[in-house]
Each structure stands twice: as C-alpha cells, then as structure tokens.
C-alpha cells in the first residue's frame, strides 16, 4: 500500500516538474519535454518484451501454462507502451526534425518492435490448442528477441542517426544534459517502470483469481 502511495506522489511530482523546469533542449524549446515521457515508454516496451521472453523460456523449461499467461500479459502491456513510444517519438520528430517519420535507426527499431508484438498476437490467434500455442509463441518470442541487440546496438553504428543519444556514447548522459534534466528523466524512467510492474502484478493476480475460480467450479 505504501508503495502505491509513494508512486502516486512521486509521479505527480515528476509530471509537475517536467512542465515547470526549464526545457531540456533550448534549441527545440518546449517540445523537448516529450523526452521525459518518450524515453520511459521506449525503455518499457523493450523491458516488457524481455520479460515476455524470460517467461517464454521458463515455459519451455517447465511447461506450466501460468508462465505462458504471464508472457502474454507482459506482451499486451508492452504493446501499449510501444504504441505510445512510437506516437510520442513521431510527434517529437515532427517538431524537432521536420517530418513525422524518417526511418532513423531508433525509429526503425521501435517500428520493428511494434511489428514483432503484432506478429506475436497474430501467431497466438492462429493456433487453437493451448499447449501448442504456448510452445510456438514462446519460441517466436525468444527468436524475435535475438534481433533486438542488432537493432539497438548494431544499426545505429551502421546508419546515420538523428537521435541525440546516438551521437554521444550513452555513458555521458549526465554530461550532455544538465543535472536537473538528468534527474527528472531518471525519476520518470523509474516511476513509469514501477507503474508498468504494478499493472503487470495486477494482471498476474487476476489470472490467479481466475484459476482459483475454475478450481472451485470443479
């Protein structure tokens, strides 16, 4: 209970601060505030996919359907965040770089992630039997995740990138931005991740309740 309260208070603080502190990048102006929301969304879509992959691995080892359900729940939530990341990124691209979509490597990777989520759901819809569906989608989820390192690390080195973080090595995140900006960004990242995990936890509890309901009916 205390955690939920803490998340609520800190989240409110971060949202207020994101609008009241000076804009992160003066050159672009107010629109650069999108960064406080876009970066966490993008990070969570990858995190959710990684979680889905881990649950898929656990399913393949133990063959317990509860792991498959968790993989699906993580994927569903991740999809929402992925769509939000793509939309927020697109809006920012319009303001900062002129057009809604440029096929910059990071834009491409978020698009590919969207497609992977879509393909995952399409595959789930195409198989009837529970066990086979769980196994096939688990394999696809793991296999698709193998391409993520390529998209995140290899592509920006091959193709010229528009994203600011790619022109500077990620470790210098506190150097390229002022300390306040870095702090708010970090806080936003942590809080949105907590929000995601909270919703995921609720989904797990719902599944557990559904399963105990089924058992009572027997």
């Amino acid at each position: 209970m205390i955690w939920k309260l803490l998340i609520f208070i800190l989240m409110t603080a971060v949202i207020v601060l994101s609008f009241t502190t000076p804009a992160p990048q003066q050159a672009i102006g107010e629109a650069s505030r999108i960064m406080y929301y876009h970066v966490p969304m993008a990070w969570i879509s990858v995190l959710a996919f990684a979680m889905s992959m881990v649950y898929s691995i656990q399913y393949l080892r133990g063959r317990q359907l509860s792991y498959d359900e968790r993989a699906l729940d993580a994927a569903r939530l991740g999809f929402v965040f992925c769509v939000l990341a793509a939309i927020s990124g697109s809006v920012f691209a319009r303001v900062a770089w002129g057009s809604f979509w440029n096929w910059d490597p990071r834009e491409t990777s978020i698009f590919v992630l969207l497609l992977i989520y879509g393909a995952y759901f399409a595959l789930r819809g195409a198989v009837e039997e529970e066990d086979r569906r769980a196994a096939l989608t688990a394999v696809y989820s793991i296999f698709a995740f193998l391409t993520v390192p390529f998209l995140v690390f290899v592509m920006p080195r091959i193709m010229p990138s528009l994203h600011p973080a790619d022109s500077v090595v990620d470790a210098t995140i506190s150097i390229t931005m002022g300390p306040t900006v870095g702090l708010i960004l970090l806080a936003s990242l942590v809080l949105f991740t907590s929000l995601f995990l909270w919703v995921f936890y609720i989904a797990v509890r719902i599944r557990r309740l559904q399963r105990s309901d089924l058992k009572k009916e027997d």
Partner: protein
C-alpha cells in the same frame, strides 16, 4: 524411439537428400520462387524503365524482389511435410537438429538457385553495371545465408498454425529487418562503385546476424518440432 548411431551430418544429409529428390520430381517450390522473382523483377523494371536508376533504388528493388520471392517459396519445406502427412513419421524417427540442418540446407539451395538465375537477369534489365557484380557477390551470399537462417525456424512455426502463408510473411519480416537494412545499405555502396571495403561494418553485421540466427534456431527448433 530408435536412434541410429549415424552422426548429425549424415542424418542431416539424409533429410536434405529426401527433400532434394522430392523437389527434383515436382519442382514445386523452385517453380514458385523462380516465377515469382522473374515476374516481380519484370514488373518493376518495366514500370521504371531504363532512366538511369540510382544505386539506392537498384539496391532496394533487388532486395524487395528477393525478400518477397523468399516469402513465397521458403515455407514449403515444412508445409509440405504437414500436408502430405509425413511430418509425424519424421518427428518419430529423426533427430530434431538433423531435421533443422537438412531443411536449412534445402532452403539455402532453393534460394541460391533463384539468386543465380535472378542476378544476371537483374543486371540485364536494369543495366546496373557489370563491373559491380564482383563486389556484389559476397553481399549476395551473406544475404542468402541470412535469409534462410532466419526463415527456416519461422517456417517450422507456421507449418503448425493456420493461415500459414500470410502468417509466414508477418512473422518473418520483423526478424529480417536488421538483415534487410544491412543488405540494402551494403548493396547501395557496392552498386554505386564504392567497393567492398566501404561496406565493412555491414558485412560484419551480416555475418553476426547469420551466426546468431542459426545458433538460436538450432537451440529452439526442438521445441517447435516436438509435440
């Protein structure tokens, strides 16, 4: 389940030989791939004409043709097994790793034959410049290896689902994206006359991709293959 003492390579070779013989009899997949590739290439070339296409455009066109031809033909190796009912016996008798390697090799052969046929036609239709063929070849080989390494496992997955062909393209495309990006970028440089040394980072990415995909597929295949 009787398992013979034959090594992995000879078992894979047996799977490959069976598919090769089947393919030779009906030439079903080969015809599908070739006709698709030639038709797409003809339509594209006809619509664009000879008006001095830039290396970027040429490179994109070539890999679009190759990608869609692969989508039309590479799933057959597994779909045919399911449809003719031989999948069950194969599942009982054969080692999953051997089955995967055999299927990978047959897909590789199919794609290679198609590429060998299509590339000269491409250079003739688009007048891309014969002097660029030599630097283009290593990119081609890596591209073909990459394509079949990623798609063989996906083909195995969709063979056991419904709506197979549509699903195959939908599932393969996101996984093939990094490969296609690197290929188009490298081909653009090769066809533009910059030579292989300019594509070094792309070539490294292509090799890494093929290695990662084949390793991943080998490890995951048995979960798809076995009930």
């Amino acid at each position: 389940m009787p398992t013979s003492n034959a090594g992995l390579i000879s078992k894979a070779a047996a799977v490959y030989a069976k598919d090769f013989r089947l393919e030779l009899r009906s030439r079903y997949s080969l015809n599908a791939i070739l006709m698709f590739a030639v038709t797409t290439l003809a339509v594209v070339s006809f619509s664009l004409g000879q008006s001095g296409l830039s290396p970027k455009l040429l490179s994109a066109l070539f890999w679009i043709v190759l990608f869609f031809s692969a989508m039309s033909g590479l799933a057959h190796v597994f779909i045919r097994e399911e449809e003719t009912g031989t999948a069950l016996i194969l599942r009982l008798k054969a080692d999953p790793d051997a089955v995967y390697l055999g299927k990978l090799l047959i897909n590789f052969s199919l794609l290679s034959v198609m590429t060998v046929v299509i590339t000269p036609i491409f250079f003739i239709f688009t007048d891309a410049g014969g002097q660029y063929v030599l630097p283009f070849v290593p990119i081609l080989i890596l591209g073909v290896v990459g394509l079949c390494s990623a798609t063989t496992l996906v083909a195995a997955i969709i063979a056991r689902a419904s709506m197979k062909t549509a699903l195959f393209a939908a599932l393969s495309f996101p996984i093939l994206m990094p490969l296609l990006l690197a290929l188009v970028s490298a081909s653009e440089k090769a066809l533009g006359g910059q030579g292989l040394s300019a594509c070094w980072s792309e070539l490294q990415a292509l090799v890494a991709y093929a290695v990662v995909m084949i390793t991943g597929s080998l490890m995951l295949f048995k979960f798809v293959w076995q009930e």
